[in-house]
Symmetry: C2
Subunit: 137 residues, 2 copies
């Protein structure tokens, strides 16, 4: 029934969101954007937190972070272990630019929706994402 449809639509969505993000703001990849966004939201998480949250390998995060740092968007609090990651001013600006483009595209898509539907859709998405899909071992 409905979950057949949900399954299909989620797959379509997953393809498109990424591709679109990349088209809209090639300077900051989808991955970089989400990592940077979370660093900002938490005000200084560690690399290992990002890896856990997004189910990425340590090495992947390490390289992403190194790249963001090289570009001046992120700073590592010095110190050997559990370094805090802080978004720089340039990073904030880049984040804002990327978000703006994405939000604009989103607004275009949601143009015909009324307020109640928007709230309901947002609610369902939050509810869905909040569920932990992993199987307890």
């Amino acid at each position: 029934m409905s979950d057949e449809a949900i399954h299909r639509e989620l797959n379509t969505l997953a393809r498109r969101v990424r591709a679109e993000a990349h088209r809209l703001h090639p300077a900051l990849s989808f991955v970089a954007y989400t990592l940077l966004g979370h660093a900002r939201a938490t005000g200084g998480c560690r690399a290992v937190d990002l890896a856990a949250l997004y189910q990425l390998d340590k090495s992947t995060v390490s390289r992403q972070v190194a790249d963001l740092e090289r570009r001046g968007l992120l700073e590592r609090e010095p110190g050997g272990r559990g370094q805090r990651l802080r978004v720089t001013a340039a990073g904030l600006a880049e984040l804002a630019a990327a978000a703006a483009g994405q939000r604009e595209a989103l607004a275009r898509r949601l143009a015909g929706w009324d307020e109640a539907d928007l709230r309901a859709f947002a609610g369902y998405l939050e509810r869905y994402n909040a569920t932990d899909g992993t199987v307890s071992p």
Copy 2:
């Protein structure tokens, strides 16, 4: 203000769907799965249709299709141009196996939802995906 939330949740979703699909059924990648699925759904579309639908480059689709063919999951109707792509019996089986895993995970996630919410969520997703996000030039 709901679109702030929608924006955020869509990004989370995009990350997870892919990663999860890959974890659940590594034999058939997320990409291969969606392409094969659409070939089956349409009963013989062309490569160029897949490219248009998923906003992929021709070359990407070409290689994916070649790989699926090499693995015996897809057949190309012979003939030079606009070849129809047909899912083989093996392809159907592989699709079913991948879908089963994903659907099971989905069902686990949606376990607490009642029928009305499921229908509503599916409806919103369909509506969202149906909107063409591209800007007319």
